[in-house]
């Protein structure tokens, strides 16, 4: 809403300078977003909240200025209007549904001279960015901005005689709007019509056919109140908003309609001449004024203030409320018609607080013992984040909404369809993602384009699945790796090319950190490995397929990624710790290198060694492995380090050698291993 300093001064005396006034308005809830000097006047641009349609007018803002500066509002003339001649029967106003149109007031003015507006009017409208058209149209706009009541002038001679009909549009009814566009209407849109056709999209836009032009001699001046919801739907259907529709949607003060209409008619006669021959209204509703009780002690306890009853009474009075004192701490407040937003005691409390000044309300700290709501799952997720960052990974945040085609290049045809968005703005927002990996892969592609050589990212986010009626949301961890990490060591530059084993290593560290032991990685196929904890599948890790890489234009690079359910993982978390005594006697280590067939389950092999070597064999672990030309094809070479230790004594070679031989025999006998 734009308004000028001088325009406001027509309705309230202002002693403050424009900038000081702007600050006052901002602190009273009318945020001045810009203040600009323009041809000898000052233009205020004010952001008006949707609850205060009364501020969408110069008079409304003047009323507020009167209240915050303690001066008086110069109210517009309310003397009843006398039409000079003519019979009321000359015009029939027919409202099909009173719920669509609460009030329709029409004035017929004959013999006007349509011409350019006088300079003062043109300049005033142009200062707030409203284009001058002609004197009649400009006057309706001037009254709209002054009173907040949208008016419309029809060329009376273009109307089929003597009738205004307020009705819903027919299906596919055609209408040529004042801006020259052709509109196809439907019954959601309210129109003003004569008996032949729609003349205007009621409250939104006038029609080309009944437009007031320089040839116009006689006019019909409309001032009405339309149903806000009907206006809102109509505006959405037509796809555009106007100064009129904006105000109708927010609600019009029914008591301002007649004064606005009178002021417009008077101004038309003054500027464009002519005689108002007829004034007629239809559908004037009975107004019930509401009264609300305000308890001053309740008000002060809600605000944390000590405002006196007299101060509250004065401020509410200045805002146009009628206030009566009922008891020592109680006021009865009658709500004026322009304040439909005030319905409860708290609404009055806000009014008093606004005028008192939010900046004068003290600061305090609440004295409450609140409940402590523990959130162990969130703590766990924080720990996961910290651990991954400690392992060198970088956290990404990618969009939860994504495009179908990206997803399709990642998943198999048997996956259930993803949840679709009804009103996406673009293809990138078509679906709620059921997986994290595609988004992470896209992020890797982006960074490869920036010439990054090593990309190691993770994200923790919700993923979505569901059926026709409901949606399941799960919190997932996704990790993506690509490229090679270069580390400058004393022996030179060491390049470490990422692989599935890097993903495995990250997960093993993570599982260890949160006390998960019974996890397993089992290959599904050459590219994908299932992750499970305690037999429950929790996720998947894989090398991205070519289709996915092609979709993202990733060339000559392998990408490895995993995703797993943090909710499922959380069930297995065990952060309890029990101290294990340190060994008192030294251990003996024996390394053994073997060659086994590819596909030999090393995990089982190690378990068999452990079993055989009990209780002295404390640990059997892989310290080296090799696959390549130096050993027969179809085999792999592994070096296993065995650590033997007793809790009671220092072991001797004589005790260990036969035991280690027995352990190694398990390898040759049960796993057909060859010693190297």
């Amino acid at each position: 809403m734009k308004v000028t300093y001088n325009w406001l001064k027509d309705f309230v005396s202002i002693k403050l300078k424009p900038q000081a006034l702007a600050d006052k308005l901002t602190m009273a809830g009318l945020e001045v977003v810009s203040l600009e000097e323009k041809s000898g006047d000052w233009v205020f641009e004010i952001e008006i909240t949707s609850n205060r349609p009364d501020w969408l007018s110069v008079i409304g803002i003047a009323r507020e200025i009167a209240a915050i500066t303690g001066s008086k509002l110069k109210a517009p003339d309310k003397t009843p209007f006398k039409a000079q001649k003519g019979k009321l029967a000359d015009l029939k106003i027919e409202i099909h549904d009173k719920k669509d149109c609460y009030l329709y007031s029409a004035k017929i003015i004959e013999g006007v001279k349509v011409e350019a507006s006088p300079e003062w009017l043109r300049k005033r409208l142009e200062s707030i960015g409203c284009r001058s058209v002609n004197n009649i149209v400009d006057i309706t706009n001037y009254i709209l901005f002054t009173f907040g009541e949208p008016l419309h002038a029809f060329d009376l001679d273009k109307l089929a005689a003597g009738q205004i009909i307020v009705r819903r549009a027919k299906s596919n009814e055609k209408f040529s709007a004042i801006d020259g566009s052709e509109k196809t209407l439907n019954p959601e849109i309210l129109v003003i019509a004569d008996k032949n056709k729609a003349l205007a999209a009621a409250g939104i836009m006038g029609g080309k056919d009944s437009e007031v032009g320089f040839a116009t001699r006689n006019i019909l001046l409309e001032a009405a109140v339309f149903n806000p919801i009907v206006m809102r739907r109509g505006r959405q259907k037509l796809g555009f908003s106007t100064e009129s529709s904006y105000r109708f949607e927010r609600g019009i003060d029914i008591e301002i309609v007649e004064p606005a209409s009178i002021a417009a008619a008077a101004l038309i006669q003054e500027i464009a001449g002519g005689n108002c021959r007829l004034a007629k209204s239809s559908g004037i509703p009975k107004l019930k004024k509401k009264s609300i009780a305000l308890d001053i002690s309740r008000m002060n306890s809600v605000l944390g203030t000590d405002i006196s009853l007299l101060e509250a009474k004065r401020d509410l009075g200045n805002l146009g409320f009628q206030v009566k004192q009922k008891a020592a701490h109680n006021l009865s407040v009658t709500i004026p018609s322009h304040r439909a937003d005030v319905n409860l005691e708290v609404d009055l409390i806000e009014e008093v607080a606004r005028i008192f000044g939010y900046d004068r309300i003290p600061q305090s700290l609440p004295c409450v013992r609140t409940q402590v709501l523990l959130n162990p799952q969130r703590d766990f997720i924080d720990l996961v984040r910290q651990t991954l960052v400690g392992l060198g990974l970088n956290e990404a945040i990618t969009y939860t909404l994504t495009d179908k085609s990206l997803l399709e290049s990642f998943i198999g045809p048997d996956e259930p369809p993803a949840i679709e968005i009804l009103n996406p703005l673009s293809q990138d927002q078509e679906i709620l993602r059921p997986h994290l990996i595609p988004s992470l892969a896209r992020c890797i592609a982006y960074n490869l384009n920036q010439k990054e050589e090593y990309i190691n990212i993770f994200e923790i986010s919700h993923v979505f699945s569901g059926d026709k009626a409901s949606v399941k949301e799960g919190t997932f961890l996704g990790i993506g790796l690509c490229g090679s990490r270069a580390m400058l060591m004393r022996q030179g530059l060491v390049r470490d090319e990422v692989s599935l084993l890097h993903l495995k290593g990250i997960l093993e560290s993570l599982f260890m950190r949160v006390g998960i032991k019974d996890y397993a990685f089992s290959a599904i196929n050459a590219q994908a490995t299932a992750i499970s904890i305690g037999k429950e599948p929790v996720g998947l890790m894989l090398k991205l397929r070519k289709a996915a890489l092609d979709r993202l234009q990733i060339k000559n690079k392998d990408v490895f990624a995993l995703e797993l359910s943090l909710e499922k993982m959380f069930k297995h978390v065990n952060l309890d710790k029990t101290f294990q005594g340190l060994p008192r006697y030294p251990a003996i280590v024996r390394d053994t290198s073997i060659i086994v067939r590819e596909g030999t389950a090393v995990k089982e092999l190690l378990a068999a060694m452990q079993e055989k070597g009990q209780p002295l064999l404390r640990q059997a672990r892989i310290v080296d492995y090799y696959q390549g030309q130096q050993i027969p094809p179809g085999t792999k070479s592994i070096t296993i380090s065995c650590l033997y230790r007793s809790d009671d004594k220092t072991l001797t070679e004589a005790e260990i050698n036969p035991l280690h031989s027995a352990v190694c025999r398990v390898l040759t006998e049960r796993f057909s291993a060859k010693m190297r």
């Binding site: 602190m27 203030t305 409390i349 607080a353 600061q363 409450v368 970088n394 968005i421 920036q450």
Partner: protein, 336 residues
């Protein structure tokens, strides 16, 4: 054996020793179990009684001399080693694994939540797919009303009445329905609005919602709590102002500005020459919201506030484009 001859031999030999290994050989030769000093001591019983005492003293003196020569030599080795350490060229890069980085939005979210935890709040989260009721109706936002325009919303195609939450406030409804007052909660999370993406708009962003409900919670408490928050995040000197505003779910409502952290309130391009930066919306929870969750609005009062995490991160770090948060350029992420 002539002690003086031994002494001469010792001083010659020790001078030639240049390695710790040779020094150890030297020690074994003279002080070892079968070493020279032991042999000399072995002579004592065979000497005439009157010579024994003085010979014994000479052997002891010799032993002490050898010990001090060895320790001297030892020190010279050690100081040589130290010199070698100093010769490492510290211009070469250090060797360590690079640390990872938390996303700046995660860092700002944690920082903000931690402040409220210290003020007695608990952190909870809620689903991103919400019901129309929790997102709108329960929060006193009528379905067909201009107040909804600022909450343009993504709806799901086939799941009726489900939508992507357009703010974190629906968690107020969930929490209040599940718990009785007193209650103090902060809710971080992703929210969605169908806004065209540009330098300052994103269709997905993050909010932190907070609310406190008890008997006798006052507007002044809201000012006090948010004041403590602003000082903790932006520094002790920060100024704060509360402006009347409108939110359907609070009454009275306030928008909160902080003095511009760039120009300190003088007016600059970041604050649009106003000297103030809007950082959050707040107010006293509307009695209609209490009615929806089954709280008695006569007995309980409460305040609520909500802020955009991207906005605060952008101000705090001087980031000028919201899209950077979601591009995840490693050169961006590694700055935080």
């Amino acid at each position: 054996m002539d002690i003086n001859a031994v002494k001469t031999q010792i001083s010659q030999e020790i001078g030639n020793i240049i390695t710790p290994e040779k020094l150890e050989e030297f020690r074994v030769k003279y002080l070892g179990r079968k070493g020279v000093v032991t042999q000399l001591t072995g002579f004592i019983p065979s000497l005439p009684p009157e010579e024994r005492a003085s010979f014994g003293q000479q052997v002891n003196a010799l032993k002490n001399q050898i010990l001090s020569l060895i320790s001297e030599k030892q020190n010279s080795f050690t100081s040589n080693i130290e010199e070698r350490v100093e010769s490492t060229d510290m211009d070469f890069p250090g060797i360590a694994q690079e640390l990872g980085h938390l996303h700046p939005l995660t860092q700002v979210t944690s920082e903000i939540c931690d402040i409220f935890i210290r003020l007695g709040f608990s952190v909870v989260e809620g689903p991103e797919v919400e019901t129309e009721y929790n997102n709108f109706t329960g929060l006193n936002i009528p379905l067909e009303h201009p107040s909804r325009d600022v909450f343009d919303t993504f709806y799901l195609k086939t799941q009726e009445k489900l939508l992507l939450r357009s703010h974190t406030s629906p968690v107020q409804i969930r929490m209040m329905k599940a718990h009785k007052p007193p209650l103090a909660v902060v809710v971080p999370g992703r929210v969605y609005r169908p806004d065209a993406v540009d330098a300052s708009h994103s269709f997905m962003f993050h909010q932190i919602e907070g609310f406190m409900v008890a008997e006798e919670i006052k507007f002044s408490d809201l000012k006090g709590v948010l004041g403590a928050f602003a000082r903790a995040v932006f520094g002790e000197d920060i100024k704060m102002r509360f402006r009347p505003h409108f939110f359907p779910f609070t009454e009275p409502s306030a928008e909160v500005d902080i003095s511009c952290i760039i120009c300190k309130g003088k007016g600059c391009s970041v604050c649009g020459r106003k000297g103030w930066l809007e950082i959050l919306g707040s107010g006293m929870i509307h009695p209609n919201v209490f009615k929806h969750v089954g709280y008695d609005p006569k007995k309980y009062t409460g305040f609520a506030f909500g802020m955009g995490v991207e906005r605060i991160a952008m101000l705090k770090y001087g980031i000028n484009d919201i899209r950077l948060f979601f591009e995840n350029d490693l050169r961006f992420l590694k700055q935080f």
